[in-house]
Each structure stands twice: as C-alpha cells, then as structure tokens.
Amino acid sequence: MRKIPVFTAALALVIAGTAACGSSSSPSSGKGGQAGSAAAFDPKTCQGGTLEVLNQASISKLDPARIYTSGGGNIPSLLFRTLTTRNRLPGQEGAKPAPDLATDLGTPSDGAKTWTYHLKDNLFFEDGTPITSDDVKYGIERSFAPELSGGAPYLRDWLVDASGYQGPYKQPEGIKAIETPDPKTIIFHLSKPEGDFPLLATATQFAPVPKAKDTGVDYEKHPVSSGPYMVATFEKKKTLDLVRNPHWSAATDPLRYACPDKINITAGLESAVINQRIATGSGQDANAVTTDTTVGPDQLAQLGSNPDLAKRVSKGEFPATTYLAFNPKVKPFDDIRVREAISYAVNRSTAVNAAGGTAVAGASTTFLPPQKALGYQPYDYFPAGATGNPAKAKELLAQAGYPNGLSITLDHEADDADNLGPKLATAIQDALKAAGITVTLKPSDDSGYRDVTGKPSTEPGLSLQYWGADWPSGGPFLIPIFDGRQIIDSGGNFNLAQLNDPAVNAEIDAINQITDPAQAQARWGALDAKLGQQALTVPLFYEKDVYLFGKNIKNAVPDGWRGQYDLARISVK
C-alpha cells in the first residue's frame, strides 16, 4: 500500500528504490508481537527453512553506496553490517542505536565534532578476508561518487571539507576527514557538533566494501557481504535470493538471529496480491512476509472477525507525518489568517479515512509524530475537532478579506501509493468546500511532483507532503523542514515554508551539540510546539504500520525504530 520513502535534508529526494530500505523507526507503541511467541522465542534453536519475502517495490539498487535506508534497512541489513545498527527491540529501547561492527556507539570528542570507533575482532567478508577500518572508509568514499549517488546526503554536509569530494575513482587520495590510524580504528572529523552521529552510522554507507572487489556500477550485481547472508542470485526488479554467509559469526553479531537458511525476495507484486497471499498462506506462502506492503482494506476488515488473521499482524509506528505544506511566498498563503482558516477547516476524519482509517493512521495536530524518541509534545493551536470547524474558518477568511470564500489550488501526487494522492486530496477538497474554499486539484507524477515542489521558484502555494525520520530523533525530523540554511534553490528543497528565522536556526545548532538524547528530546519538542504557532503546515495524521505475516512465521516483532518486523530476527521454523 505504501511505498517507503525516507528523506534527506540536503539534496536528495525520495527514494523508494531498493527492495528493502525500509523506513527507520522510533519508539513504537509496541503493540506488535502479541503472538506470544516472543517470550518463548529462542534464537539458539530457530535455524532452518526458507523465508519468502513478497514485495511491491522493485529491487533496483543493491549497492550499499546507493541505498537510502533508515537504520540500515530491513533487507540490506541482512547483507551489510555497519558501524552501528538499530537496536532491533520493540518499544522505546528499539529506537536507540547499538554497536554492530564497532565495539561501542563511538567516542565523541571536541564537543561532538570528532567521533572515534574501534572494530570488533574476527570480522570477515563472505570470501573470508578480514574487515578493516580501511574497508569502512572506502565504502563511505564510494558513496560520494556521482555515478553511485542515491544515499543520504548527511556525510557530505557533516564531514570536514567533503562537499566537493567526487569519490575514489576520480580522487583516489580519499577523504581527509576520515582517519584510519590502524586496521581497527576509524576516526571521523565533523565540521560542526553532531550528537546524532551514532544514529547516522547505521546507514549502509557505513558498510565495509573491499576495494579489490569494487567494480563500480557493477558492484551491486554481487555486493560483498559482511552480514549473515550473501547474494545467491540477483535479478534486478524481480528476485533476490540470499543464502547463508559462511564467514559470518553470530558471536560478533548478537542482534541478528539469522534464523532461515535461505531468504527469497520477490519484487514487483501488486499490494492486494501480496496481502491475499500472506493471508491465505497456502504452500510456501505460509513462510511469507513483506517489508513494504502494509495490510489492505480486505484484510483489515477481516481482523475483527478472523482471529487467525488477527494473530498474524504486526502493528508498529514508523515516525512520519502527512501534512499540508504552505508556501507563504504565494498569495493568499502569505496571510497567516488564511493559513489558520485552512488549519481550522480541515476534516481529519476524512483525511484519516483516505489513508485507510484509524487502523493505519492517527489524526495529528503536531508536526512531530507522537513518539518520545523524537521529543513529541502535544499541542493544538487551531482546534478543528474531528471533522473541521468551517464556521471559525469562514470568520478568519472574512477577516483576511475573503468574505465570499476563496479559490485555491492543491498540488498532490497522481497516485495514492504514498498516501499523497487523489484520495487525500479529494478529502481535503471536500472539507474546505464547507468553509467556502474552492479547491482545484493539480496532480503530478511522483518524480515530477518532487521536482515541482522541491524548487522554491516553482513551489506551489499548497501541497500535500509527507515527512519521515531518517532515524528516530527530532533533528532529522525538523531540520530539513524548518532550518533556513537548508533552503535549496536548485531543487530538492524540503523547507517548503522557506522559513529562515535566525532564532530557529540558532536553537537547532544548540540542540545538535547535545549528546544526551533525553535532553535533546525535550528541546526538539519545545521547538516543534513553537513552530506550530506560525501555521506553516497543517499536520493531518501520523503513520501506523500494520503488516501481515505468514502462518509459520515466528518472532515477527515490530522494532521501535521502524515499526516493522525485522527479517534478521524472524524464524520460519
């Protein structure tokens, strides 16, 4: 139902590309895993069988440099170990990072501007060669090559003097800001304090790549595995079959259980078919899961009456908000009363229904989703109730000089795959009609939509938007949207309000220096609440993720980072 986009502050756009690269996660409401098997689950005896993964999104990229993931993704994380990784636990604990290749979460120094990591012992690639800190450095350098673009842009921003680096093919001397004094140690020098660095280090760009095996753009045909599985066959956009990596050792990797002997991923399926197959569960489908298809209305409607099916759902929350974005540079949205009127007029019931109902979306009046890891603080400055307050909206419009109503255009995506399509747009259209606002809908194809809305010169006055966290923290949620220095004129901009408030910018810099998560959370929450008063966005709903899994699947527990069960910990036995 939902493709899984993740976002970047600086340059890049949405990537739904890779099969896996799912969303990241954060403290989950932790309802998942009531299957009860979680408690009885023993990772020691779970080995065996073949896991089937049925996905919609094509597996079009498998190069760790090119994948855009949150927390290392679901499928990529089976192949690539990274310096740190998500903690893979339900609830709030799961929203934290944990050491992976590294021995710990890193040692900050110089006011969180320098981060030092040491690699564990006995780490090997699938061919048996040992993993060194140079391999990690090389993996990061590759991701700067233009022909391997696609990953998150943070490193380019954060590393000292790295923004002009063109990758190891053109500049074999490498990035000065990364030091590898010995094969076990790697040191990162940042241009500014970044308390979130251990969370960023979960990305696949932090996976080691052996220089000797690098074949450039062809590397993805068989990326060298450092994780529990390796590629057996890979057919772009169709199938990816994984088998055990003999040189991976569970001793160095307590978080990945690696239960199934084989994992077969099939892409390009219709969402309805995926859900039907998992629900029906005949034959191999009893061992099936999906990493990109939330449950459809057919199965949702059955959950109440079908206890067998109800046992086979995982309910989590990926921290993401769907909202209306204003461009205050465009009339009439320069007038805060118009923005407020629209905030009052929206009908969050129909909006939530458009997304599939309260089972998969929760009405939201805050920009930050209701998760502690992000620093959520409740507020509702323009109370619209469940179904909108058109009277108050009309009043404000009259004050703003539109006593006879208003005609505006709403930009949205052409299809409903990202929940930014016609369904939500028509719900908004219908709700605003009650307040005397006539909405003209303007759909664009996915790519065209990002292109139009991401360029300040062409940005429409009002558009449907979605924002998800690259990792469970308030920073990646608020910075790209509200930091004035993140406005990008050439395209790929996400600060759609084009807000450049020195006070806000300064507060962001201040929070970034904090390395204590609890402290930072409180400050992010306060910043969100303050920004909310300006009515630069109309938050509509936050995301709930309900995934089905097959009859034989055990330990399908949604983690707190991404709200989704973790393939590295699922068993089919």
């Binding site: 059955q302 129909t350 599939g356 309260t358 028509t426 809908l441």
Partner: protein, 318 residues
C-alpha cells in the same frame, strides 16, 4: 486487451454489395430484433441517466463528491450498515473510506464513460473516414502514404501508447477530452482501413464513373456518391467501436492514467473496488455491473445491426 483485435474482423469484411436498406426498414427490423431492441433500450436508459444525472442525484438528495466520514467504519473504512450502507438517503450505499454516495457517483460516472466512448468514437470516425476516403480517392502516392500512416497507427501498441501519451499530456487540458482524443488517436486505423476499402470498392462502381461523366467535381463525387455508401458499414463498425472505447477508458482509468478524481468514472471506481471485493462487494458490483450491462447493450445492438444488414444473414447453419 484482446478486445482491440475484434474490431479488425469487422474491418476485414466491408460487405459492400448489399442492397441499401431504407432507414425506416432498418429501424423497423431493429425493433423486431429482440436482442438489438434490448440493447437499444438499455443504451437509451443509460444515456438518459447520464444526461439527467444532476436531476437524479437531486432526487436522492446527494452529490458525488461530499465525503461522509460518519457513514464508514472509522478504523478500516468499510461502509456502516448492511449491503454497503444502502439506505433511503443512499440508494446504492456509500463508497468505502470516503463515504461518498455510490448512486451519485454511478450516474455521474455514466456521463464520463458514455461521453468519452461516444466522443472517442466520433473522433475516430471523423479521422478514419477522412483518411480512408482521401486514400481511396487520392492518387497512388496519396494512397500509399496514407496507407503507411494507417499501418503505423495499427502498429502502435494500443494500450502502451495510450498510457505513454496520457503521461505527457499537460494537465491544463480537460481530462475527458484528452482521454477521448488519445483513445481515438491510437485507434482510428481500423475505421480508416474500412473506409479506404469501401471507397476503393465504391470507386470502381460505374455510377461513380457516371457522376464523373456528368461533370461532377471530385468533392461532389466524394460527398454524393462515396460518402452515402460508407454510412452503413461505418456505422455498423462504430457500434462496435463504442464498447471497445468504453473498455479502453475503463482500462486507462483502472491503471490510474485516465480520468482524474474526484470526477467519477466506472473504470476508476472498479479499480478502487478491487481491494474492497470482500469487505464491500457492492462497491465492485455496482460499477462493474453498470459497465458490463452497457457494454453488453452496445454489443447486442452492433450485432443486431450487423445481422440485419448482412445480406447472407447466416443465422442458422445450412
């Protein structure tokens, strides 16, 4: 979309030598042909429904775009109440998720489905007949150029090209118009081929020579001698084109490149309905049934006309 193929069959059989049937006689026989008459009545009803959609929805007291979140289950979006929420104020129930009135959407959807089907057919016939006559009456060069053009249009993978075209047409043009034009543009070849074949056959008739001898200029020959001879075969063919265009519209809307929301179209409703088959079967049955019945009506009519006009009238095997 094998449906596109069947129109070829009709094109291959111009059946030129049948004596003309006066319109009145055709009408009389049509009324006595049970199947064709049924088709005609259904089409008439559908057209009336489409034309009077605002009146009908006003009678019901609903409109096709107002969302009723109170009428659907807030958790999963299924309509509340039995049979998709059928009630005195919502005659066919409501749409899942949005709670929009299904009857209102159905009757407004008829406007789109029928309008585009008729519109596309009209454009197709216009293009096809013009090109066909020009090719048939023009010289060797004109004929071979237009013949190639026709081959080309027939060679275009129908659906693929329509999808491709829909993707690049700017949004400023009204969508139904775009759809009608695109459908017509990718499928005028059959009509052109039929019209050309018919023209070539009529051209050799001596009465065309006689008209030339009477001093008739070429345009008069085309209008007075050729065009009337095309009316019957082209109309018969067009009767088959209408349902095939309707399927094309439904298919494109189904694929999400057709009509844009909130404007209702049957194909689009069906495409939404596929995920609701079990929780709300009515949501599939209503637009699906309407589409099926209308298509069947057109096919019955076209078949009836063909049967009546067929000089051999091979209803029963010898």
């Amino acid at each position: 979309m094998t449906q596109t193929v069947l129109t070829e069959e009709a094109a291959a059989d111009p059946g030129p030598s049948s004596p003309p049937l006066p319109r009145a006689a055709l009408w009389r026989r049509l009324r006595h042909d049970k199947a064709a008459a049924t088709g005609l009545v259904i089409i008439a009803v559908m057209v009336l429904v489409a034309v009077f959609a605002p009146v009908l929805t006003a009678l019901e007291g609903q409109d096709p775009t107002t969302q009723h979140s109170e009428l659907v289950d807030s958790a999963v979006g299924t309509p509340l109440g039995a049979h998709g929420g059928i009630s005195g104020s919502h005659w066919l129930g409501v749409e899942p998720q949005t709670g929009r009135d299904l009857f209102a959407r159905l009757v407004y959807g008829a406007r789109i489905s029928l309008g585009i089907a008729f519109g596309a057919t009209a454009i197709q016939v216009l293009i096809g007949v013009s090109i066909g006559i020009a090719a048939g009456l023009g010289g060797r060069l004109v004929d071979s150029a237009l013949g190639r053009l026709t081959d080309l249009s027939l060679a275009f993978p129908y659906v693929l090209f329509a999808i491709g075209l829909m993707a690049i047409v700017p949004d400023s043009i009204p969508r139904p118009l775009v759809l009608a034009v695109v459908i017509a543009l990718v499928a005028w070849g059959g009509t052109a081929r039929l019209a050309r074949g018919q023209t070539l056959s009529l051209k050799t008739r001596d009465y065309v020579a006689a008209a030339k001898l009477s001093g008739a200029p070429p345009l008069r020959v085309a209008r007075r001698e050729i065009l009337p001879g095309l009316v019957t075969p082209v109309l018969t063919y067009a009767a088959l084109l209408v349902p095939s265009n309707m399927i094309a519209e439904a298919g494109l809307s189904f694929l999400g490149v057709g009509i844009r929301p909130p404007t209702p179209s049957w194909g689009q409703m069906l495409s939404q309905g596929t995920t609701w088959f079990r929780p709300d079967v009515l949501y599939v049955l209503v637009p699906g049934g309407a589409l099926f019945v209308t298509l069947l009506a057109f096919t019955l009519l076209a078949d009836g006309v063909r049967r009546i006009l067929d000089p051999k009238n091979t209803e029963v095997a010898p």
